[in-house]
Amino acid sequence: MLANAADRASRSLFRVIATDIHFWIPFAVLIGGFVLLDHLH
């Protein structure tokens, strides 16, 4: 029961983060940074 509740809660948490546009801005910038770094290397 407790494990299920924790699992449900973490899934809900990640859903809220994934639907937050604020998350995707830094995430996209980070991916861009990795691509640039790889290119420079």
Binding site: S12, V16, H22, I25, L30, G32, G33, L40
Partner: protein, 446 residues
């Protein structure tokens, strides 16, 4: 379970606003933290100057990050105890993801600066990545209601100050560049701009965390996880595990200086986090960018850099320093009005509702005070100041490691003005003590 609130509860929004006197106190505190951050972030460059330039920049960065990691766990344990970190995570678990994301961004940006300096030299690279403050102002305005209802005078103060500091940084960087940049200019400029964009955007997670009420001391612990993992992956990926290990073993005489640099940097970053929390990213970032001025002071006075330079160089240093100081003062005098602060609170309420964070937790964080336990439903809030066995263990292990590394450390043969070094260290310690006491008295390090 706490996290269930994300989908089941909606926090009640309390319409009352912060007292004007409290707001003014917090603004002044944030500005003070911004200046202290500049001194400590700039001071972090000093131990690194003692390191042999033969060591690969990625390895230097990795060793510094080890020092940063140790500091980011032991300093919070010393100040408030790790139980506070646990309590913060239970209140706002989503911020762990944000902190790790910010740490990853820092590591990538820091590595990019190495490529930038190598390709275009410090004089071009530094001002380019210092554009992070302009980007910070943009994100602060767009995403977190900063500078809303601020009036044209404050807009002028913040934007004009940031532009002034950018000009000053350019002059200082040109003056302190020792070597002409080799080719690959486009790549270097791209790397420097990339670092600026990453660092400017890294403040989005910072602001997100502090609007939701998280304690900077808790945020930096998870930040360091993203930082260390990313930096280790980059170092192993680019250098190879065996050559990296050999380089680390070969560098044992300078490990202490690099890790000390990381430790000092963390103190500066901690002040920067508090500045971001209490004055926002649009003002906090430019203020902590005064670190360039302090780095220059260390270089000029302690390491005799620019000695025998031309009059043009000294004019650039004087002009750049003056411009940076004027910019910082302009920003410091443009603190948020009550009306602007109420739009920050709107952004905070929005965050609290989205992530189901307790309203009292959000408000207490924004007002820099402890939560009123009667007002919160969660009983996990730890009593501040209590330390567990884990806290003492963290402090002991860090002290022991630094003592061992100090015993192995060697001072390089170079001319150092010890008198000036002592004066700058004393200044930094005075800033640490006064700002630390102000933070304790006003917010109890909230």
């Amino acid at each position: 379970m706490k996290m269930n609130r994300v989908e089941t509860e909606t926090s009640a929004v309390v319409p009352s606003r912060m007292l004007p006197t409290r707001l003014r106190t917090l603004q002044a505190l944030g500005i003070f933290c911004g200046f202290a951050a500049g001194a400590w972030l700039g001071g972090a460059e000093a131990p690194i100057k003692l390191v042999n330039p033969d060591i690969s920049p990625i390895t230097v960065s990795l060793i510094m990050v080890f020092g940063v990691f140790l500091a980011r766990w032991s300093v919070p344990a010393f100040i408030r105890g790790t139980s506070q970190v646990h309590s913060d995570v239970l209140q706002a678990p989503h911020l762990v993801v944000w902190a790790v994301l910010a740490g990853c961004m820092w590591a990538v940006a820091n590595t990019l600066t190495i490529y930038a300096i190598r390709n275009v030299g410090l004089s071009i690279a530094f001002p380019l990545w210092n554009t992070n403050s302009l980007l910070g102002i943009f994100w602060g305005f767009l995403l977190f209601n900063e500078l809303h209802f601020a009036g044209w005078k404050r807009w002028l103060g913040v934007l004009g100050g940031a532009v002034c500091m950018f000009g000053g940084a350019t002059l200082l960087a040109i003056a302190s560049a020792h070597q002409a940049a080799p080719g690959k200019a486009a790549m270097g400029i791209l790397a420097a701009l990339g670092a600026g964009i990453l660092w400017g955007t890294m403040y989005v997670p910072y602001r997100k965390a502090y609007l939701t009420g998280m304690n900077p001391l808790s945020f930096i612990t998870f930040f360091s996880v993203g930082e260390l993992v990313t930096m280790t992956l980059l170092a192993v990926g680019y250098r190879g595990a065996t050559p990296l290990w050999h380089e680390l073993v070969g560098a044992r005489a300078v490990l202490f200086w690099l890790m000390l640099g990381g430790f000092v940097w963390v103190i500066g970053d901690l002040f920067q986090q508090y500045a971001t929390k209490y004055v926002g990213i649009s003002r906090g970032i430019p203020l902590s960018n005064t670190n360039q001025l302090w780095g220059l002071l260390w270089g000029l006075l302690v390491f005799h850099e620019l000695r025998g330079g031309s009059q043009t160089v000294y004019a650039q240093v004087a002009g750049g320093s003056l411009l940076m100081a004027m910019g910082a003062v302009a920003i410091a005098l443009s603190s948020a009005t009550e009306r602007e602060h109420s739009s920050w609170q709107d952004a905070a309420d929005r965050e609290g509702q989205r992530y189901g964070v307790e309203n009292e937790y959000v408000r207490a964080g924004l007002e820099g005070r402890e939560m009123q336990k009667g007002k919160i439903t969660d009983k996990t809030a730890a009593t501040p100041g209590t330390r567990s066995v884990l806290d003492w263990l963290l402090m002991l292990v860090t002290t022991f490691l630094f003592a061992v590394l100090a015993a192995m450390a060697r001072l390089p043969h170079m001319e150092i003005a010890l008198g000036w070094a002592a004066a700058l260290v004393v200044t930094m310690l005075v800033l640490l003590a006064t700002c630390g006491i102000a933070l304790w008295r006003t917010t109890r390090f909230r």
